[in-house]
């Protein structure tokens, strides 16, 4: 059987309708979409706040322009993918072109916003069409979008953290929804023979939900800890170190966080599993 035929056969077993007999996957898809929409919204808010000091009259105008452009670009992306699946590769090209345009025409702030909204379109397509590549492309777009923010240091850490964690939630739930939907085909086949499979599968999904929450909360804490590494070190250090340039500079914070990460990675390697 050719890979394409196998893939199409696999897809037959997967329902994207809400309320089917296998709600686990659909629930994950919904969570992923909500997380993606929230990440895009937070990203846009950061931009609007940076430029217009919140949703003033200009901010609202540009937000509407951005949304219209995102929908338009999403429609173009959808048409391209309808023509051929491989044309999804053009979406990042569109982002690059728009970023280039944005450099020249700062006044067209709507384009800036559209770039931040575009991952929403790509990601939603990936989640609901069960295609892994668009999901990852959208994540890459989210990563790239942080470079179009201006006035970075003034942005509250909580907003950027929210953006990062929401992006991760989107990526992981989207990815796992696709993985589970593929496992589901096998489970559905097997559950005709025994109810054990469905019970086990449900238990795995529940376990996933609990563990995912734990991991994401821990990730948030660890990131804050790493970012505040210099503040913690200042409490323990004395003399020249406290007043050093590294303890107070952007580069210093970066070096401390990197050292902290490396130390954690080394401990992990040394610890028995």
């Amino acid at each position: 059987m050719r890979i394409k035929e196998w893939y199409l056969e696999e897809r037959k077993h997967v329902s994207t309708r809400i309320g089917d007999d296998f709600r686990g996957v659909t629930a994950l898809q919904i969570i992923s979409t909500v997380a993606l929409a929230a990440a895009v919204f937070v990203g846009s808010t950061i931009n609007i706040t940076a430029y217009y000091d919140g949703f003033g009259p200009d901010g609202v105008t540009f937000f509407l322009i951005a949304s219209a452009m995102a929908v338009f670009m999403g429609f173009i992306a959808f048409l391209l993918v309808r023509l051929h699946r491989g044309l999804i590769a053009l979406v990042p090209v569109m982002v690059i072109v728009m970023l280039y345009m944005a450099e020249d025409q700062k006044a067209l702030f709507g384009i800036y916003l559209a770039v931040t909204v575009l991952p929403g379109v790509t990601g939603a397509y990936g989640i609901w069409r069960r295609a892994v590549i668009p999901v990852y492309i959208a994540f890459a777009q989210l990563m790239a979008s942080v470079f179009i923010y201006s006035n970075p240091i003034d942005t509250p850490i909580i907003e950027v953290m929210a953006f990062s964690v929401l992006s991760l939630i989107y990526l992981e739930t989207g990815h796992i929804a696709i993985t589970f939907s593929r496992v589901k085909a096998r489970v559905l086949e097997n559950q005709k023979k025994s109810a054990v499979f469905t019970r086990l599968y449900k238990r795995v999904i529940r376990r996933y939900a609990v563990s995912a929450s734990e991991v994401l909360v821990l990730t948030g804490f660890l990131t804050v800890l790493l970012l505040r590494m210099n503040d913690i070190l200042r409490n323990f250090a004395s003399g020249v170190v406290v007043h050093s340039f590294e303890m107070h500079s952007f580069t210093g914070a970066f070096i401390s966080a990197t050292i902290g990460l490396m130390a954690l990675a080394l401990i992990r390697t040394a610890l028995p599993r």
């Binding site: 942080v146 942005t155 025994s194 054990v196 990131t223 599993r273």
Partner: protein, 416 residues
Amino acid sequence: MWTFKSALLADAGVILLLLGLVYHNYQAIVFALTILSFVIIVGYRTVNIKMDAVRTVSVEKSFEGSTVEVKLRLKNLGRKIEFLEVLDGVPSTMEMIAGSNYLLMTLNKGEQFVMTYKFKCHLRGHYTIGPVKLRSRPLFGMFYSETAIDILSPITVLPRIDDLSGITIKSKYPKIFPGALATRQVGSGTEFYSIREYVRGDELRKINWKAYARTGKKMVNEYDRENVSDIMILLDSRESEGVGTVLENPLTHGARAAATLANYYLNRRDSVGMAIYSDTLRIVPIDAGGGRLYRLLDEIAAAEPTGNAPLNGVVDLLIPYISPNATVIVISTLNNDLTVREALRKMASHHFDLILLSPSQVEFELLSMGIEEDELYRTLRLERSVLLSEVRSYGARVVDWTPDTPIRRALTGLMS
């Protein structure tokens, strides 16, 4: 072990971190640190598998078409495994009919789980169930650890035995020992042969009282003499016998025929031997007695289509093992062997009662390829027909066996 996804995320995190530093972009650094923290935390949750497994199999020996139930008890001796994939090795020729040999589960520390599945054995052979392959894929599929528990359960699938009751395959040269084969001669059998006048010394139980009442003369019943034969079954297991599908090929049919015939003759109290040739020759000398059938079936089960030993060489090696006047049943397509004529002629010259049961390779090939018969196949069929006629001329009884003919019907041709 790292997966592609974890490597990709770690790479993305490091690149973003460096770009953030270069462009003094605070958001990029926060994003990068979040990604890297995530990778490290998931890494901390990766566990090595420490598992105990015990497998019980319902039967160690079964026949083709029978069902086998397997129970695999798993006990987690290590830390909690969030995402455990279990795959119990089952040969691909088995058809899973209940449960599954693959499961996805979560196992807490010290927790046990019994995995039960049933499969149907379609093809004879010596198989092994196992090892148990385990893969721990913690959350997000970013890191994994794999292990295999080497518990192996051997299982033998014996060839199917068809019912031949009501069929009588006679031997040309029965031995003088009493057995089950009626010889149409007066003897001490069980089947009625004739009636004659009583002579002094006849057993009283043989007197036919009804005839005595009717004629007034003492009459006694006479019975058929029933004897035993020596049977040597020669099964061709060369590579060319594997032509066709996995389940429908000359060797599969030949193996079933060999098993059916062995059972048939042993039930008749005949002595049966077996020789299977492929790249080697395996001989089970002619003998009778309890447990004989399983010894023969074990040998048949192990037959694989391999090698290309010439029949003539096989016959040279085999002749010392065959008693004079024995019945030799050759089960072979006779294909791809230039020594066939010489070998069969040699056996006929030793006065063996030669029976050739020949599955038609041409028909198997047509069946498996699903193609229309063309000139080439008509020529091959004609060649085969000429060869079989030649074998008949050596005094052999020949059965030209097509895939759609049941064994019972094919063997009916040997009754005359």
